[in-house]
Amino acid sequence: MIKLRIDGNEVEVNAGTPLLKAAQKLNIEIPTLCHYEGIEPYAACRVCTVEVVRGRRRRMVTACNYPATDGIEVFTDNERVRRARRLNLEMLLGRCSEVPAIRALAAKYGVEKSRFGYDPKEKCILCGLCVRMCSDIVKANVLSFAYSGPRRKVVTPFEREMATDVCIACGACAHVCPTGAITIEDLSQRRGEVPEMYLGPKTAISIPFQQAVPKVPYIDPDACIKMQTGGCGICAQVCEPEAINYKMQDEVVELDVGQILVATGYQIFDASQMAQYGYGKLDNVLSALEFEKMLNSTGPTGGRVLTKNGKEPRAIGIIHCIGSRDARYHKYCSRVCCMYALKFAHLVKDRTNAEVYQFYIDMRAFGKGYEEFYSRVLDEGVNVIRGKAAEVVEATWGNEREGHLLVRCEDTLIGKFREVPVDMVVLCAAIEPNVDQERVGQIFSLSRSPDGFFLERHPKLDPMGTVNDGIYLAGCCQGPKDIPDTVAQAQGAAARILAMIAKGEVLLDPIRASIDENLCGGCKVCNNLCPYMAITFDDVKKVSVVNETLCKGCGTCVAACPAGAITGSGFTDEQIFAEIEGILADAGNK
């Protein structure tokens, strides 16, 4: 540790610490433009210039990379320093005259207008952060400087406008750019398939959502530069408790359990399949989950309802039954949409002056208190139009030419075709089985009903059980349902599970296979057949053996044993033969 003085205050730091960091310890602010924590200092903008006195020698140095040495005295804001900064900022202002960040900083040093030029278009101050980010941190080496002197500029390879093959579209360059000279354009127009909808940019390291448990940040390995290219690593550099661990891997944890509650949930129907509603194409057509996120006070708009251009909508259309109750997609009713659509209407009425139109087929307010809520929403002045919306198109509204939508539908109650102008449309997309529902079903040996959801043992008498003892269902993996229904089903399933645990023992079906070792020739035909690995080979006796607790009694081995040495209790050959003879007792002779 060494001691130095900054603006008269003594501070103790490690030798070699950049003055900028040493000053931070004293809460002395030194402006920077080309500095970014985690990226090697570059000392190009010279805005962080300070004066260092060392013995008799006074010199101007850059605080971002000047290493602290013992006994030096640093002045961060004396007249010489202020003049240097002022003039450098004036030069930058002459270069990038309309960049707010530069204007603000220059104004701080009394410069409103530059004597060295005026360029309203230029935004790049050539700080090199993007170049260094791209080459040193991301290691993609897309951006670089070209030309020298005043002609210097940041270019993509060979100055081609698009360098898609090398650019990994990480957006880090735009993120570090202090002047907004780099913008990221989403050419694909794709929307992320993430469970938690987001309406704004997302970083590779984030807390998944506000209510996440545990509420700690996680790294998205698909987006993390460190994991993709081996570069970056900034988060680890800035995390003082050293909590970042890149080596952490997804783990497969094997648990020995006796009972399983399958609650694998659902997914939302992709509304962009129904092109007539413009989801994914028209700006202000949102999915219900996106709208829910917008209404959330911790969401991107802080709970305000805003169209893409940041204005409050004058009218919102909420379209029910997107992909459900529709023979082309899902025949079933998604059950939750009517009520949340009414909730949306209620909240919109509460927060804005917008008109709300509900386009519904049938209003299904079946739960406790639901009908009453429906009446209340109607009293609040929400317009309900019975009839499935036909399409959503872009439209003008008065003199405004863009950004408005028109919902076309038939109002079946008045028997007329209607066109309703709105600023925003919310689509109530269907609840549908997860893409991997089938695979999950195979894992747990679960059957699926024709709608693709898991099949309960009995629709009335056992709505949470399955045909497999010890495996239960809860929630939307069994079918669309709202929260009260889900909770009821889950608690029921939990009670069933606890009951079994309390009992402490389980009854097994007596259906088992067994091998008569006097008949087994040890051909090993059966060894490979058992899905439960219940058959092993006894190398001493040279016969195959069935582990009766592992055996589930399917009988495949019984059928396959060429020696007939395996017997399946409950379903022996003789029993089945007798059954055959019995049911064919009436078959006549030739």
């Binding site: 190009a44 990379n65 060295f116 020298s148």
Partner: protein
Amino acid sequence: MPYRLHMMVCAGTGCVSNRSLELRDALSAELARRGLDKEIEIVTTGCNGFCGVGPILLVQPDGIFYQKVQVKDVPLLVEEHLVKGRPVKSLMFTPPEAKEPVPRMRDIPFFGKQMLVALRNRGMIDPEKIEDYIARGGYQALAKALTTMTPKQIIEEIKASGLRGRGGGGFPTGIKWETCVHAHSEDGVRYLVCNADEGDPGAFMDRSIIEGDPHSVIEGMVIGAYAIGAHQGYIYVRHEYPLALKRFMIALDQAREYGLLGKDILGTGFDFDIEVHRGAGAFVCGESTALMASIEGRVGEPRAKYIHTVEVGLYNKPTVLNNVETFANVPVIIERGAKWFASIGTEHSKGTKVFSLAGRVKNTGLVEVPMGLSLRELIFDIGGGIADNGKFKAVQTGGPSGGFLPEDLLDLPVDYEKLYEAGSMMGSGGVVVMDHTSCMVDVARFFVDFLQSESCGKCTPCREGIKAMHGILSRICDGKGSEADLATLEELCSVVADTSLCALGGSAPNPVLTSLRYFRSEYEAHLQGKCPAGVCRALITFRINDKCTGCHLCFKACPTSAVLGEPKQMHSIIQGKCIKCGACYDVCKFEAVTKE
């Protein structure tokens, strides 16, 4: 059988450009024709220094100096001098103000005041023959250093000699080496780099040394490497120096063949080899950190040198970087001793310095003089004064970012500190002389323009500041300047010098600052709409006075038909059409065209 005479044909770049190689071939053919080729040897030497009068031919041992020798002169020369023993007066050099030509080189004033240390073999050897270098005592210093001295002794010797970096910085070489030895290197690797990226326009000291005496550089580098414990060296040569490059490569091969480079040098067990790295001609790559970045394969941009390259340099290893001239001095110091070297020069500037004399001086060329010689001696005695009987106005030392010194500072000695104090610098040794025809504002603008385009553009003050200076200077040259501009210029100069990342930006304000300091009146004249030297076109007017004879030459010369007039009658100029190219002024034989 020894030769009777040696014909030393200069094959420096200047003389080669003047067809000295054709001259050599003609000479050789002539000698063969006359059967003299057994008696007389032709030696192709490096730069003689007196480049302004090339091609140069020196006949030894007589020391007869022939200048501007053409192929057509060969038969006469051979006949008269070589056969009949009568030196040819018509090919000899006549100093200014002298009536008779001077036959011997040593009697010519240009050479008289020079003292050759770095250029000790100038014109005496064939640079492509290591034998010639060894015959002149070459590699003796190396042998001495490697066999009788410890690295520490060498460093002490260099320190004691007071040798300072000849590249511009003037940092004491011995201390640099010592620091390098003490710098921490994890694996003990250290590098030695020779900077031959001579970027200053008009400067060609380094090129000349490599072209004329490459082994002196190699010898100096090997000694330096031994002193700091480096085993790998690099020489960074401009790509624009093909001849230097070729000769250096030949020299490297020869040195390796002779066991003076590579493994087990001179059987002492010391290994050192040199790799040649060619620069692409960026001025800024002469800066040490940019140069090293370039060797490493990165963009040649400087970085902050708060941690010196001597500690963390090439490939992050301790690195000694010296320029060509510095290394060329090293063998002499080792051979003749620090005391001898330190006896030359001034208190803080020891030894000699090579300068390239250029501009409005009579004798342009390369000269090596002891430190402490006054600028006046340099320009008037050696340089022969101002060309075309012009009037001295200013001298710029140290390359494009050197300052302009006026006449009253001509007695300033050549000395690192003295030049710095006067607002200029030693630099690498460029000396540009300006006479009354130069406008100081225009000259300042010219150099600032050069520096602006050679700035790498990394840091704000250098990129934007020099550009801003250039803008203001251009404005002044265009007659649109104001008093406030001068203040802004001074402010800019101060901040750019203060805050630039590297020496290029740090010294860039020198031309502006010194011109403002010593020639402020010229600026003020410009603000009044006058260019005293008549250079700035926006401020001058061409007129035709009554001396006009109607010769009609100006009429024909004018590219824009701005001259009016019938032959034999007085002409006049239409100002609206005149683009101020000066063609009429140049062609007029009667001083009838005037410039105001």
